[in-house]
Symmetry: C2
């Protein structure tokens, strides 16, 4: 499970307004007569000139030009974005895991048995050594205990509240400010050109849905993620409700991403953005659509402004967000574009001017 | 909407038209100068005046009027339609079951073992007595044998080819002509008013997707149905493909409809249309959205123009499309609208003028 959500601070909100206003002025407006000679504003101002930026511009130009043999009709314009490490920071730990850890603290008074039971005990006593040794199974036990047993609707405010107050350990800012500005620009640029943008994440679907409209401008039905089973039941008023069950229905990672894209959308994406081996099949499936397509992978090679990890290209191997050399080689062989965070991104965060 | 028991007089109806016309005429339309006195065309011409038609008109008027406290913002305008028995004929047998039966005949040369193996033998020898005794398990065996073992993409033309040639046993017309004209009008009317229309069917998701754009104007990502697992694999060219596996992932019926609506859309519908007990939870979940909502059930009470079955209201009990009296009673108790095919539909099929 990867994933997370947000409440916009007045600062980010005002920034968003500024950006929105600027890009709006680039939209051709037939009623204004004095703009004919003005060069269109750069739709990707946070990107340095280079092959990555050019690949995006070329793809949009090609697929929206009716006279181009690789023109894509608007109903087939689908772009999919992995989240963790692709549209926001995933290091040193997935935000949704932190959310689960924080929930353990909040729920502890109702669970006195956790004081002596692992893995909860490690979190409640702050046993860093034990926490660092958590297995995937430990994380799963914590996730199920903290993400289930409530209605689908009751889960949403738990996420939004956390997103408003939790801060990233390195940047000391709320998670909504951990979004990559260059990716927000790509999403907007694609949408302005008729593409529907989807988040396709290994993180929890309902976790991401809780904030995606606000931070990405993406509605709930365009969030595809790992999903728990729900159980239909009735509340005291006799109304139909959905209880979140501790059973994984969709593991939306690796091959699961391609399978769930078919399940939810019924079409191949034409553009896909990822950053780990878990995005490989999504990119392959995008390229298998035939015709023009765009496949991009973010390489985290900027230890100064964000983090540096691989192990592709000799970068440090880490537990979170593995980008193996084999994926790098596949990208090169298949004509996918590797985005160098260090070289291709002029600015990483909206606040980091 | 709770107008089901109210019978509108011609007077009230004409008043409604006048009001509707007035509010329309307030919208500035610079290109049409001579239409001020023309009454707007009826958006539901195949519906007889009555509580069912009025419930639809009232619902749309209420939820799209910004000054109404029950106004629904456009992003929440979601309408869900069951398919079999709600938007097209389901008697005497579901079309997808017939498709599977026909596929057995086509596939038989590659399966000599079917000649002696039930349930296939019954179909290949035309043993009507044995076919009538098919259990649900028999149907499942046939469905899995005929719907799996190919890629998701190879399945689509199998369905479209069948839809073009198979004919309904009673009406002797291809299945795309078995669609109810009144429901096509409701779908269009809702879409014209900002609603997104979804098919939410117990039938196979990929089966319905194969023709839904053409017959309903509904794209693949707005088809929610029972779904098989797919398995990511590679073709000879090394491209990513999805194989259809003989394993049911989603059983989109009954409670499954409410659960899958959450999974796919992440919101409650504001309007829902069904015709059987399998649609009950979808209608309940729609009503649980709060504010204005519209819940409608088609009662097949027209043996002359279509079929008559219940067992609600003393109509014959049949295997296909059960509408029990308890569902009818729940509808009445909760203010849902029961559509009488006989009384509410002036015309049933587009060709049946």
């Amino acid at each position: 499970m990867k994933g997370s959500k947000k409440i916009l601070s007045a600062f980010v909100l005002s920034l968003a307004f500024i950006l929105f206003g600027c890009s709006n002025s680039t939209t051709p407006n037939p009623s204004s007569t004095s703009q004919a000679a003005v060069a269109p504003a750069d739709p990707l101002p946070s990107w340095n000139a280079g092959p990555a930026k050019q690949a995006i511009l070329d793809f949009v130009k090609t697929t929206t030009d009716k006279n181009n043999p690789k023109f894509v009709p608007v109903e087939d314009r689908i772009a999919s974005f992995d989240q963790d490490g692709t549209t926001w920071v995933e290091h040193p730990i997935y935000s949704q895991v932190l959310f689960a850890f924080d929930r353990v603290g909040e729920m502890a008074p109702q669970h006195p048995e956790w004081k002596t039971r692992m893995p909860f005990k490690a979190l409640l006593t702050g046993d860093k050594e034990a926490i660092e040794k958590f297995t995937l199974k430990d994380i799963e036990v914590i996730a199920m205990a903290t993400h289930t047993g409530m209605t689908a609707e009751a889960f949403t405010p738990l996420v939004t509240d956390w997103m408003a107050k939790a801060k990233h350990p390195k940047f000391d800012k709320p998670y909504p400010q951990m979004i990559y500005q260059p990716m927000l620009e790509v999403m907007k640029y694609l949408r302005d050109n008729g593409y529907r943008t989807y988040i396709v994440t290994g993180g929890g679907q309902d976790f991401v849905r809780a904030y995606a409209q606000q931070v990405y401008g993406i509605p709930p039905d365009q969030i595809i993620g790992s999903a728990l089973d729900t159980q239909y039941a009735y509340n005291k008023e006799g109304q139909g409700i959905l209880m979140r069950d501790p059973k994984l229905l969709l593991n939306n990672n690796g091959a699961g991403k391609a399978e769930d894209i078919h399940l939810f959308i019924g079409k191949h994406p034409k553009a896909a953005f990822g950053n780990t081996d878990g995005d490989r099949q999504m990119l392959e499936y995008t390229q298998a659509s035939g015709g023009a397509s765009l496949e991009m992978l973010v390489l985290h090679d900027d230890a100064t402004r964000e983090f540096a990890y691989g192990p592709a290209q000799g970068l440090p191997d880490t537990k979170v967000g593995t980008f193996p050399q084999a994926l790098y080689d596949e990208a090169k062989a298949k004509g996918w574009t590797v985005i160098s965070m260090k070289n291709d991104w002029k600015q990483i965060f909206a606040w980091d001017k």
